[in-house]
Symmetry: C2
Subunit: 310 residues, 2 copies
């Protein structure tokens, strides 16, 4: 199977070169969300994600309710990764002809559950039947909070690197029922200076590489400090990979990966408003992993949506 | 083939009952766009449309450039139908694995052409490969202008009914290369009081029924006044339908159908800033067609995306 996300990144780079700058655009393609200037109001955030049967979920296994919930939740996670507050969602559906109405209702109920939890009204959509399999595309709007959107490109050497939760093995359930870190992100943004942030969708290793590339820095992770989920440990019993490899490469964790200056790092270690784990520090260059006292190059691991492996 | 749009409307009615009201939502599902309250700024419009291979276009015939252009243009037409000004677009793609990159580039070039024409920056997106056929989902934001968004529900008996262009036969080309009536809508909105407006995507007959249902009125069309496209006349030579039937039922015209009070109707007949045709008047109830001096019930005709017929 081709690595679809790699080609997405090369396409985004192709796009970036071709999209002219525009006075109303604060942040264009290539971050967790775009941001638009709005007269007299906070910057507007916008993000979109398409989930497709067979590559992002298996409808028969997950059920329409869980797929609907996830389709909205992944976008809320993108808003969280900019330290934004989600304000509205629209939904486009491509429904299989067979059973499409029941699927649509199940999807909506799943979306509504999480929409209400985060007070995000679903304001519109486009519903279609077609001869293909289920496609769900959700766009979420948000508004910037506090000192503004937190991008991927502001980390500096010496910054402390944190994550908001245990990683790996999300295929065992978390990829569907994760709680997007909207509240955590707000609380952190209000307390410390977040220099860079991304949500972990492609896996810690790959998303850390993204953050480093955008920031023009390197990173050194402490392998012993990476919080590893129980699911990663369970998978490792039979997968032939270590729990750490699962934590680094599985993806779809939807935890936040963020950087703060050294002093703020100390403050978070002392009394963070939400659970966080420091996993390393930013460096001048190179993405590396300290393991048993030795420094290893950290390759871009994993990705290829997990369902492709299962 | 099932009528996918009918089930869309029943789904929207189902949705409307389930979506709670929200203080930030000015217009929820069921109009051409949704509208959100934004502090200190004009209301924000948002609309989304998904186009799918085989039901909305045939990639092999149309080419990726034309499909990309259309995917953005249909959303601009929705913004026009609210008398809004488009401000930004995001794009989600589900690309077939075979040739996906070339398709993505063609789509983008087609979008960019019309994006630049209407000064609408493409600010972000989500690009995926999958085992299915091409799916393109575009979301466009806009801002309300003048006295605010023009809805479908404000027409009153006695209002004059207008359209902005000739109808029917769009399958012969216009469904791909139409120019969304953004500028026309702005000029009309600045000059007259638009009581209700919709863009003609499902066909004059069906979209007039929508407008009447939302406004709680009827309508009487003058069959001789409906502007009929050359393409409709050409199709009628072999289709077994009359040119008028094509104009009433084909859909994908992306002209505006709008209502104004009687005095404004007179002003537009005298000196409209853009080409418009008065095609009838709003009535108390019933949607009817005057033809050769006789009043006929106007059924909900056509729809089922045209490509299904070709």
């Amino acid at each position: 199977m081709p690595d679809t996300r790699l080609s997405e990144f090369s396409y985004i780079n192709w796009l970036r070169k071709r999209i002219p700058s525009h006075s109303s655009v604060l942040i264009g393609p290539g971050d967790d969300t775009a941001a638009m200037r709005v007269d007299g109001s906070r910057p507007l955030l916008i993000t979109t994600d398409m989930l497709m049967e067979g590559s992002c979920f298996l409808l028969r296994d997950a059920g329409a309710h869980a797929v609907g919930r996830k389709a909205l939740a992944v976008n809320l996670s993108d808003i969280a990764a900019m330290a934004g507050r989600p304000t509205a969602a629209v939904v486009s559906l491509g429904l299989p002809r067979e059973g499409g109405r029941a699927i649509a209702e199940g999807l909506f109920e799943g979306m509504r559950e999480i929409a209400e939890q985060f007070d995000v009204p679903i304001v519109g959509g486009d519903t279609n039947s077609w001869s293909g399999e289920l496609v769900v595309s959700v766009t979420v709007l948000g508004e910037a909070t506090g000192s503004g959107p937190v991008r991927r490109n502001g980390a500096r050497p010496g910054d402390a690197i944190f994550v908001t939760g245990a990683l790996g093995g999300s295929i065992r359930g978390k990829h569907l029922d994760f709680v997007p870190r909207v509240r955590e992100s707000q609380l952190l943004h209000a307390m410390v200076g977040l220099s860079a942030m991304i949500d972990i969708s492609d896996g810690l290793s790959r998303d850390l590489h993204h953050l480093c590339e955008e920031s023009g820095c390197g990173a050194l992770l402490d392998s012993a400090a990476v919080p590893i989920s129980d699911a990663a440990i369970e998978l490792a019993a039979t997968s032939g990979k270590s729990p750490l490899e699962h934590a680094l490469g599985d993806g779809e964790d939807f935890e936040l990966l963020f950087c703060v200056g050294a002093e703020d790092g100390e403050r978070l270690r002392q009394h963070s408003p939400v659970p966080v784990w420091q996993i390393g520090v930013m460096t001048e260059q190179g993405v590396a992993l300290m393991r048993d006292g030795t420094r290893h190059v950290l390759p871009i691991m994993g990705y290829e949506h997990q369902l492709a492996h299962s």
